[in-house]
Symmetry: C2
Subunit: 451 residues, 2 copies
Amino acid sequence: MSYETYFQNKREQHLDELKQFLTIPSVSALSEHKKDMIDAAKWVAAKLETAGLEKVEIIPTGGHPIVYAEHIQAPGKPTVLVYGHYDVQPVDPLHLWETPPFEPSIRDGKLYARGATDDKGQLFLHVKAIEALLDQENKLPVNVKFCIEGEEEISSPNLPAFMKDNADKLAADVVLISDTSLLAKGKPAISTGLRGLCSLEVTIATANTDLHSGTFGGGVPNALHALVSLLASLHDGQGRVAIDGFYEGVPELSSDMREEFLKQDHDDEQLRANLGLEALYGEEGYSFVERTGARPTLELNGVYGGFQGEGTKTVIPKEAHAKITCRLVGDQDPARILDRIAAHLESHVMPGARLVIKRGEQARAFNMDPSHPMLQKAADAYEQVYGTRALFTKDGGSIPIVETFSRILQAPVVMMGFGLPDENLHAPNEHFNLDNFDKGLLTIVAFLKQL
Amino acid sequence: MSYETYFQNKREQHLDELKQFLTIPSVSALSEHKKDMIDAAKWVAAKLETAGLEKVEIIPTGGHPIVYAEHIQAPGKPTVLVYGHYDVQPVDPLHLWETPPFEPSIRDGKLYARGATDDKGQLFLHVKAIEALLDQENKLPVNVKFCIEGEEEISSPNLPAFMKDNADKLAADVVLISDTSLLAKGKPAISTGLRGLCSLEVTIATANTDLHSGTFGGGVPNALHALVSLLASLHDGQGRVAIDGFYEGVPELSSDMREEFLKQDHDDEQLRANLGLEALYGEEGYSFVERTGARPTLELNGVYGGFQGEGTKTVIPKEAHAKITCRLVGDQDPARILDRIAAHLESHVMPGARLVIKRGEQARAFNMDPSHPMLQKAADAYEQVYGTRALFTKDGGSIPIVETFSRILQAPVVMMGFGLPDENLHAPNEHFNLDNFDKGLLTIVAFLKQL
């Protein structure tokens, strides 16, 4: 029986199972859901078992458990490590959900529930693809390992150490992840790059108390003046980051990459209108998709100090704060970037202002050459199912664990996403288009059979 | 009987009366105290009556009433208009008061209560000084009018219109106000200048929603970037305001004024240490007392936008806000200054950012020449009682009603304060040093007798 027919026959049963999975409120960020996390891990383990995988384990970590399973019966064939996560984002604001987040419901060909697309729905596709292959052919065309974590939405605090300690167990020829999106309906995409990240918090302190601007204004340092002039010095007037050495390790865009970006046929004007912007803005000489996909950036995410209430308060605030993140590309080293930012801030801070810098996250950028055979085979699989070849894109966001997989396992990572950009990830009314549910199963099967 | 003896004999009675006044919680800002406001106005009216003043009136306004009284029986003599206010500041945070704010208590020669020094205690001195003169001499050396309002702590919304409508009734040769402080214990001061004020709120808007810094960072305008670069452009690196024409109407400091400022013998190092500052800061070429007393300033009182919670949020905020006030001197016109700031902001705002400016308060600076005979007579009176001549100072703060009196009534204003700078005005444990209560009565009597 064709896989189309097979999945058609099983469709109702598959959706019922996925709905079960989606009723478990496995919110990793909230300690009240600790038991739900274990239930979700058990659910995944049981389904892997049923699918025919072996050595299924629920492995405790310092946080939520990791589910491991394998099927190593194809000697001489490549080994595929499937990564996914069974944890989900919190659901607030609850009142904006049209149906409750943990009561899955299908409307207009879309399955609504928290985790429907990120990542329970997409992870589920891999379990059912393996099950289908074993059902239909009694064997797998490749060796398969599953590594499913419960902490992706809280930055995977335990997975990197687990990976290092179990590098042999996890060793693979390719890491396969479905936790991203198509470019648009019917336009498959394979991300070959993710930006890295580093973050810091900046505090400027001047006095030991807030001061009256009548009595002291003009005669004492104002923490807000010091902060805004310091923050303004971080960019030049052409949209570039004005920190010495910030662009070290940033590769120039090759004409191949520029061509690949052009293929996305991105509608800048549509985006501008959708977001209500006067104009797009960024580094001169680059398009929007280049700026967000292949160029680093430094963003102020929060700035605050002094009076925020209604009306006027004639206060000179004693301190002021900023939260900053950078997105990194190429070989930019997050630790070195933080050093350079700190050096810039220290040398630009105005006299009379005390500067405190608190460093936060650090993650390197991830990059793969689109010509890698694994990526080409993934593109073939998409083409077979969607009738159109996947584009190779660069994502502006950061999934630090992808770079960690690639570095520790020394394996290519194929990000074979089946979501859509407007499926409300991390927001109310998250959903998963069932058209991509169906096509996703077929694409995974096609990919594994080609390896 | 000497006035010293007279006031000594009456001291207990006077303090009992003042304590009565201080038990009335006449907080003008809080509508729940509306009846207390009327009680306080009635109390003042009754005391003015008892003191021997005539035509005592409680005059309704759109807000809290004004108390008027007069004693016009000294033909050919100057007319003194005494201004004061019977309303007080709110008392929060209540738990920091050592004794309840409306249960006056005397400790260490200080009378503790909300309003003790600002302004019930100081206003009371004028009532009792007049009563003493009438008691002892059966007549007054001058003509006297009282104009006591109940809205000073909420910016006197009704008094300017009342003044305009009743300019003849209030006409005077000098306005006498006791609502300020000595420089320090035993160091009387007469303020000959108050800075003006103007305020505005600035909003920068970019997108119609907050955006993810991964997906959009580097490709769209960031409201915080636009705001900090705009705000940073408001000052140069030498502590000056960098707005075209800002200093128009600012008088150069005369050598006389500089000498007068020097006499204050201000301890910059002590102030720096007290406030926990690394260094004082301000316009080059001016001392601290000159910067705050005789130079204009533009202060950021509040700046906010984006994420303020714990940790990191990779957001590009859609809007950002700033609250700004200027202190003005000399002939700076607040409306014109607001125009100039707006023009600066509009011409410096970064492309892609929408600017919204909301204008707030406007008040002109107040200035008197210290050589004015009325001020010299006030200094004489202080010298007689305190044994040391009052210094002529400039206050950095703004009391807009002073400039309004001077402008509408075309009369000099003598700010004859008897408070001390550390008496916790507007704060918990407000108090009034009774030494200055005693000396204040004598100084007012001495002043009136000299006119």
